[in-house]
Every structure is written in C-alpha cells, then in structure tokens.
C-alpha cells in the first residue's frame, strides 16, 4: 500500500488532496455496483423497486389515508357500517380504538386496568435492568424477587386496599409476559442442571436427564398443555384444584427446559477438553469448575441459539389459547367475536403482530450486542 502512495505523491506533488469521485465511493457508486451491475440485476432492481413502491403506497393508503379511526357507539352497540362500506380499501382502526383495553388486559376489571398496565411496565423495567451489565451482580436476585412479588401483589390484589382479582380474569399482555418470563426464568436453571446431568458420569442421573429431555421433546407443546389442562385435573383428589394458569406455566417451563437443556449441552460440548482438564489440574471442585470455568464460556458460545429459543417461547405462549387462557393473541381473537366487529381481523392481528415484534426484535437486537461484546476476544 505504502509504495503506491509514495509513487502517486512522487508523480504529482502539487495536487491537493481530493476526495474520490462520486462514481467511485458513496451511495451512487454502491448502487451502481450492487444494484445496476449488469442488465440482469438492473432489471431485477427495477421490478423490485416498482413492487416495493406500489406496496408501500398501498399500505400507506390502507393504513393511514383511507383508515377510519373511530366509529360512533350507540347504546353500547358500535355502529360499524362506515367501516364495512369502505370494503377493505382502508383499515378500520376503530376496532383497536374500541377494543384496545380488552386486547391488552383481557377480562381484568375495567376500573382496575392501571394494575396490569403497571405490571407490564414493571416487566419491561425488569428486562431493561437485567440487560444492563452494570447490574450483573448478586443485586439482580433481590431485584427480581421484589419485582415479581410486586407484580403478584398487583395482579392478585387482596392486600393494601386493592380488590382481589381471581386468576381467570387476568388476560392480555400481562399473561403473555408472565408465562414467558416466569417460564424462561425457571426453565433456564433447570436446563443447566439437566444439561450437566446429561453429561454426568452417574448413570442414574444421566438416565433421568436423558429420559426427561427425550420425553418432553418427543411431544408437541400443545399435547403437554392438553395434558396439563384436561388429564392432570382428573388425577387429583376430589375438590383439589391447581390453578389453570399455574398448570400451563408448569407445562411451558418443562417444555422450555428440555429445549434449553440441549442448547446448553451444545455449549458444554463445544468447549475444548483442555478447559476441563486445566480446571481439574488446579484442584477446583466440580461445582467450582462448572461455575467459574465451564459455564461462563459455554453459555457465551450459545447465545444465538439461546435467544432463538427464547424468542420461540415468547411466541409459543400464545398456544395457551387452546386451554382457554386469554393471552394477548387470544384476547385479540376474542375481541373480534362480537358481530359488529367481525371481519376486522387484519387490523387486530397487525396490532398484535407489532407488539410481538417489538418484544422479539428487542431481544434479538440485545443478543447481537451481547454476543459482540462477550465474544470480542474470538473475533476473526
């Protein structure tokens, strides 16, 4: 490189430094090279550009320009004729205006909606705090314990003058967040234990862990939820009922645990033998070795598949609809059961999709940053 510079400088010493021509760098050059490199890619670019522009215009027209944001409500009956008359050329966001509180909070008592709203904010706060590396100390344990207790108190009530709200009335976003947060928070430690157990030299423990993983992985989540909701209550003694949400929570935790265990095991296996042997050589006990040497490296390796599983489970919680729990998606579907609002599913699904996307995209973005930070030393 240096000899070229020298060469150039020797030939034209009087030339002032100039930036490269616009045809060589910058967006125009990039476009020429990547989008219009040959007649074939020019054609593809033009066709795609045409389609994208058309769809964007169509979407903007549907979602904003022709949309109806509100309809009159007479005697509790929404008058949706205006929405029906536009016959789909515009979105009927009135369904969201009317039903957003039901979609977000389900059948929770209307005048108490500030409680689940606060719970959602607390969950988001908890995620943000847990994501900051500054808080990655033992402080995180009491923070989680206190927040989850506050969340429980807010949802159930019955103390501090808050009216009691039974679990069947919970619904919407809090259910989705509760199921996924508690599910993954409990499944993750379980998964680590199972992954370690599967590599154990003790045959009984190993068998047990293999059996657990293979059994749970061998059936779909739907059938586990069915077992929890339909078969399990029949085995209980008369008059004893375990809360439906708790049963679903346990089923989801067990399922997530089996999948996460395999992800963690992949990380354990990826570590070179030398790490284990070195830890043994300096005389660490099994738990010291695992906690200080093995797990920190193994987990770092498996961040992408871990987040993959997390995102998957966040969305899988919507399967609880088959056992009659009103999570975000089910609440949205129920909102459009009312005859006046039948046929406005797209608007509701788009809204719910955006909510899911925000959570999932945040998770994925965060994990990318985390991965970059933690694996800086092995960048190639």
């Amino acid at each position: 490189m240096s000899d070229i510079t020298l060469d150039a400088a020797a030939r034209a010493p009087e030339a002032a430094p100039r930036s490269a021509p616009i045809t060589a760098i910058g967006p125009i050059a990039w476009a020429r090279q990547n989008l219009f490199g040959s007649w074939w890619s020019t054609a593809v670019t033009l066709v795609l550009a045409y389609l994208i522009v058309r769809w964007t215009i169509g979407f903007v027209e549907w979602a904003f320009l022709n949309a109806i944001w509100e309809v009159p409500v007479v005697n509790g009956q929404a008058q949706t004729q205006a929405c029906r008359e536009i016959k789909g050329v515009g979105a009927c966001w009135a369904v969201i205006t009317e039903k957003h509180r039901f979609i977000l909070f389900g059948t929770y008592p209307f005048e108490q909606h500030w409680r689940p709203a606060l719970v959602c904010l607390l969950f988001v706060g908890l995620y943000v705090v847990s994501a900051m590396r500054r808080f990655w100390t033992w402080h995180l344990v009491p923070i989680w314990a206190v927040t989850l207790t506050v969340i429980g108190v807010l949802m159930w009530g019955g103390v501090f003058g808050l009216p009691y709200v039974p679990q069947e009335r919970w619904g919407g976003l809090p259910i989705t967040l509760i199921l996924s947060t508690f599910g993954l928070a409990m499944a993750f430690p379980l998964a680590i234990l199972v992954a370690l157990g599967r590599r154990s030299k003790l045959p009984a423990i190993k068998m047990l862990c293999v059996l657990y993983v293979e059994l749970i992985r061998g059936v779909p989540l739907i059938s586990l939820l069915f077992m929890a909701s339909v078969m399990f209550p029949l085995f209980l003694p008369e008059g004893m009922n375990i809360d439906k949400l708790l049963r679903a929570q346990i089923a989801i935790t067990l399922f997530a645990g089996a999948y996460l265990a395999e992800v963690v095991r992949a990380g354990l296996q990826a570590l070179p033998r030398g790490q284990y042997e070195a830890a043994d050589a300096i005389g660490l006990s099994y738990w010291q070795k695992t906690g200080l040497i093995i797990l920190p490296q193994a987990l770092r390796l498996v961040i992408p598949p871990l987040v993959n599983t997390f995102i998957g489970f966040f969305k899988d919680t919507s399967l609880v609809l088959i056992i009659g729990i009103f999570d975000l998606l089910t609440a949205g579907k129920t909102a459009i059961v009312e005859p006046a609002w039948q046929g406005f599913g797209i608007e509701v699904y788009v809204t719910i999709g955006v909510i899911y996307f925000v959570f999932c995209f945040a998770m994925s973005k965060y994990s990318q940053d985390l991965e970059r930070d933690l694996n800086r030393h092995r960048r190639r």
Partner: protein
C-alpha cells in the same frame, strides 16, 4: 265408634307424619338437606358460583369491550348466582374450550357449564353429567346466497358446501346427503373467519353450521338480505346448562330456574313490571314470586328467588331479546309453546 277412633288415629298419625316431614326442612334453613348438596354447599361456602362458559361465541358468551362477560349463557350463570346470593355479580366465569369443558366440570374446576353444549345420551350417562333443561333448540342448517334462488336444501344437488371440520357438523352433513341421495362437494376449512370468507367469496354455493351460527354470520354481512337461511334443519342440537351427577338439589335448582324464566315470560312478568306483579291476584304468580307457598325453600333458596332473578336478569324472552335478537337469531323453535314453539314450563305449584 271403632271406625271413628280409627279415623281419628289415622288423622293424628297423618298430621304427625306431615309434621315430621316438614319440620326438618324448616329447621335446616337456609341450607336444607346439608351434606346432600355438596356442590351447593361448596358454592355457598365459597361465596361465588364458578361458571364454565365458552371462550367467546357471539350472543352466547363473550367479554365486551370492558372485559365484562355478556350473553345468553352468561345470563343463566347470573340467574343462578341471584338465586343463591341475590347478587348477579357473584360469579366467576371460567372460559373453557370445547375439548376441556367436560374435564373442567368433572374435576370440579367449575360448578356448572353454561356453554352451548348439546344434550346427548352419552354425555348424560357415561360422562356423568345432568343436563338441566334445553334453553336453546338449535340445529344444523344451510345458508345460500339469495341470488341463487335455492329454496330448500334438497335443491343443493351437486353443490359445493363449506363446512368446518372436527365437530359433528361435517358428520351430519354427510349423513344427511347420503340419506337423501344428494351429491355434493365439501369444502372443509378449519377457521370460522376463513370458512365464512370462502362462502362470501363464492368458493362454495352453501355454508352449513348450526342455525344460530348462520344467523350470526348473516347479520354480520354488509347486506344480510343477500343471504338466505334455508328452512331445512338436518340435525337436533338441544343446548342447555349441565352439572355433575351427585348433587340433585343443585340440578333441581338449575332446572327450575330455567322453567321459572319460561314461566315468567308466559305469565307476562318482566324485569320492568315484577314490582307491580308482586301483588298480582293470580295464585301461580304469587307462588312464583314467593308471595305465597314455599317453592323457594323447597329448592333450598330464598322464597323470593324468582322475583330477584326476574328483577336482575329478566325473563326468558328478555334474555333472548337482549342477547340473541341483535345478532339476528329469531325465536323460531325457542318461542313459548303458547306461540307455537317448544319452550314449555311445568307448573309452579
């Protein structure tokens, strides 16, 4: 002389017997025959009724925009709560799916189901339930576009028919077609919204499901007049609330709440005029509203049970008009027997 003595003895004995028979009922107020009514006792001890409903079916049970459950089935739950506690809000609604509903009742997760459930022999016997009446006579029918000019289902020879899989609907359709030697092409689509879309878009000539569902779908169309529900009904779907075997008193209560709602409509007692009718001279009205007789106590509830129910929930006609008529369901077979329907209440005495 001997005959007279015998007669007196019989009379005294009879009185004594009558006394022993009535005394326990009075002594054990407010919950007669305690221990004999496990479900009712459990509900009283808990202070709320737990009612299994659908996860959302227009007109029958669905939460409104404020998350409050409303509908035809929901009103039956409220009526039971009024009879037990004189408070329609002391109900916890548990949404149950079609698959989980029977387990929920069997395991005691819910006290009763008011969930669009068809009364069949096997459900009544081997599943261990008691159906407490038929509060809605439904049946499978067909809807076609009015422009096709089809008048009866027999004209559907060679038609494509949209149907949802999984329930008895598909089976009924096939049975009916075979019995009537009608050839048709089924278009089977799982989700309600999509099957309706397919019918509206013209992918099939007719759409079949229960008549109540057809009426609801029809009324949700931009122009309901473009669609005709054919008069033929090809299956019987008697819907009603149900309870577990083993608590006859609770089943009795539900049964007579239904009859009471019908009787009230028949006698013209509504939520608006129940106060004036309290002083009505008609003995049956007096007995029903608890002004005379002891009908409520016989069922193990307050004598004013029916008056309270009518005041809070209304009679059968009012419940029907409030929930089902807005979605386009006509009384049809659910009219009172006096108006050519099937709804009939045994006498209140």
């Amino acid at each position: 002389m001997k005959a007279l003595r015998l007669a007196v003895a019989c009379a005294v004995g009879g009185l004594a017997l009558a006394a022993t028979m009535t005394t326990p009922t009075r002594a054990q107020q407010p919950a007669p025959a305690a221990g004999n009514a496990p479900t009712m006792d459990a509900i009283r001890a808990r202070g709320t009724l737990i009612c299994g409903v659908t996860t959302g079916l227009a007109g029958f049970a669905q939460p409104d925009s404020q998350g409050v459950w409303r509908g035809f089935d929901v009103d039956y739950c409220r009526a039971v709560a009024v009879a037990l506690f004189n408070d329609a809000n002391r109900v916890r609604y548990v949404p149950t799916t079609a698959q989980a509903r029977f387990t929920a009742l069997q395991s005691g997760e819910v006290d009763m189901l008011a969930r669009n459930t068809t009364w069949t022999l096997s459900r009544d016997t081997s599943l261990g339930f008691d159906f407490t009446g038929i509060n809605f006579y439904d049946g499978q029918g067909f809807m076609v576009k009015a422009s096709t000019g089809v008048r009866t289902a027999r004209e559907l020879e060679g038609a494509t028919i949209c149907v949802q899989p999984g329930t008895t609907t598909e089976q009924n359709l096939t049975d009916w077609a075979r019995a009537n030697r009608i050839r048709f092409t089924p278009v089977v689509i799982e989700r309600l919204e999509e099957v309706v879309q397919a019918y509206v878009a013209g992918r099939c000539d007719a759409y079949t499901t229960d008549v109540s569902g057809l009426a609801a779908t029809r009324s949700a169309q931009p122009n309901p007049r473009e669609h005709t529900i054919l008069p033929d009904v090809i299956s019987k779907e008697p819907l009603g609330p149900l309870v577990r075997h083993g608590d006859q008193r609770f089943a009795d209560l539900l049964r007579w709440i239904h009859f009471g709602l019908l009787g009230a409509e028949e006698l013209g007692i509504t939520s608006a005029n129940v106060q004036q009718r309290m002083t009505d001279a008609n003995p049956e009205v007096q007995r029903m509203l608890g002004r005379s007789g002891d009908l409520g106590r016989m069922l193990g509830v307050d004598n004013a049970w029916m008056a309270n129910i009518i005041r809070t929930v209304g009679n059968y006609g009012e419940i029907f008009a409030r929930n089902l008529e807005p979605i386009g369901i006509q009384r049809g077979p659910n009219a009172l027997w006096t108006q050519g329907g099937l709804q009939y209440s045994p006498p209140f005495r």
